[in-house]
């Protein structure tokens, strides 16, 4: 089913009418960004897989009640954020992302290079990936989540603030600190 040029919201509307192809297009479009958001926040691939399934089950289930009053990605990342908080509560961790231990060096933060890109490019990409992974791991969880929401979900400050339940200024501050620290870490690692 052709989905080029069709908005996420239109695909959702089609899926709500029972067109499974629309859902598959939507899933293909957002699969990696959802998964990276989860894995790089949670720090555990198995848990991220589990949450990934939960998130997309919820998307499928709630499609008939979805109203395009907000962007689909905002809704999607709201579900992903809430699932993450649920998981932390269930696992007796604190509700705040500050309690989330980031397993630097784990599978999900190893942004390894594409082996088919050639030896030199592969080495360079691997170095960059490792450096970024390490830098992400050093970020405070709430800053990391805000940054990941923006780069993966392409969300605005206002949307991030609404999803995470903080003020606009707080969200903006988290993003600014996150980028500043990433930049500094990358320089140091370089």
């Amino acid at each position: 089913m052709e989905d080029a040029g069709e908005t996420d919201e239109a695909l959702m509307a089609r899926y709500a009418r029972g067109e499974v192809g629309a859902f598959e297009a939507l899933y293909r479009r957002h699969e990696m960004r959802t998964w990276r958001y989860l894995t790089r926040n949670i720090g555990n691939r198995a848990t991220a897989d589990e949450l990934m399934q939960d998130v997309w089950f919820a998307v499928a289930r709630q499609a008939p009640t979805y109203r395009a009053t907000a962007r689909f990605t905002t809704w999607l990342f709201t579900i992903a954020h809430n699932r993450m908080i649920d998981w932390m509560r269930t696992n007796r961790t604190q509700a705040s992302l500050e309690s989330l231990g980031y397993e630097a060096g784990s599978v999900i933060v190893q942004l390894t290079a594409e082996p088919s890109a050639g030896p030199l490019a592969a080495v360079q990409a691997e170095e960059e990936s490792s450096a970024l992974a390490a830098a992400l791991g050093e970020l405070p969880p709430e800053q990391r989540e805000a940054f990941l929401m923006q780069v993966e979900g392409d969300l605005g400050v206002e949307e991030i603030a609404a999803i995470t339940g903080v003020s606009f200024e707080t969200a903006k501050s988290r993003l600014r600190y996150a980028r500043a620290k990433l930049k500094q870490s990358l320089r140091e690692l370089a």
Binding site: E31, R36, A48, D49, Q53, W56, V151, E158, R179, L186
Partner: protein
């Protein structure tokens, strides 16, 4: 206040994107299969006309075929009613009248009573015996006393006023021997059997109607919950209906109210005894749905009601 995200450091973003693009890690294939399989299943349910019927059954396994009990139940009720009631309006000389169709022989009379063996014991009308039992001496004596004063050998095409209809006892009875005139006692028991079948049928139809009404009320409850019609909701809650009745996806009225952000409906349903932890057929609970929707008032109400 700037409404745009601070993206002054595009260098970091560019590095992140480059690294992510080169990242070979992917979600497990099992996750993809599970997600797409689940989505396909839900899509199929939404496409099916049965989903629109929104019938209510507790067993999720019955959801896909939930129209069958209603349809076949309705047909069975109609057939039952037909078998019981229609013979009362058929002429006594109807070809279906077992006593009147014996190798073309005429019945003893238009009001010829029906032998007990010819009464259909069940709605499904089993075949009548090939021949009726020979009359006993007492039956013959009583029959002589109670026989119609003017036996009409001809088969009347219309039923006389007050004439008893002949129940259908199967086509096999058409070849049966002519029935002797039964005694009064046998007439009474035959009539009782016939008359007793009517209340039973009525009771069954009444039960079916009650079930249909219950389904309608449950559907109305969910619709009221979904639309936030609290007045209607409270009226329905006064009826003796199952507040936790589910739709085709296993969703209760409470779950639908949560999914539609109807906090007042949620309050009314919880006050009406709705189960705050009733999950749908996918395992989604009202609290989880409320959390997904960032419905803080509903989350609070559910937690107060014991949701977890």
């Amino acid at each position: 206040m700037s409404e745009q995200p601070p993206r002054e450091d595009s260098e970091v973003d560019a590095l992140y994107r480059r690294a992510s693009a080169a990242d070979p890690n992917r979600p497990s294939e099992a996750v993809r299969r599970a997600v797409l399989g689940h989505a396909a299943k839900l899509a199929a349910e939404r496409r099916s006309p049965a989903a629109a019927a929104n019938l209510d059954f507790k067993r999720p396994a019955a959801n896909e075929a939930r129209w069958r009990p209603a349809t076949y139940g309705g047909l069975a009720a109609a057939v039952l009613a037909g078998l019981i009631i229609v013979p009362h309006y058929l002429p006594s000389s109807s070809p279906r009248g077992p006593a009147a169709t014996t190798s073309g022989a005429p019945a003893p009379g238009a009001r010829a009573p029906v032998a007990p063996t010819e009464i259909a014991p069940a709605p499904t009308a089993p075949p009548a015996p090939a021949a009726p039992p020979a009359p006993t001496a007492r039956q013959l004596a009583a029959g002589a006393a109670d026989a119609p004063k003017s036996p009409l050998p001809e088969r009347s095409s219309t039923r006389a006023l007050g004439e008893e209809p002949q129940p259908f006892s199967g086509y096999a009875a058409q070849n049966a021997a002519p029935a002797p005139a039964p005694a009064r006692g046998e007439l009474d028991s035959a009539s009782s059997a016939r008359l007793g079948a009517v209340p039973r049928a009525q009771a069954r139809m009444s039960a079916l109607a009650g079930r249909a009404a219950s389904i309608d009320s449950a559907t109305a409850l969910r619709q009221a919950a979904e639309s936030g019609d609290v007045t209607r909701l409270k009226t329905l809650l006064l009826e003796q209906i199952d507040v936790d009745a589910r739709d085709s996806a296993g969703r209760t009225a409470l779950m639908l109210a949560v999914l539609h952000g109807q906090s007042q409906a949620v309050d009314a349903l919880l006050a009406g005894g709705a189960d705050p932890n009733a999950a749908d057929s996918s395992g989604n609970t009202p609290l989880r749905a409320a959390t997904d929707g960032n419905e803080s008032a509903i989350i609070e109400a559910l937690r107060r009601a014991g949701a977890h």
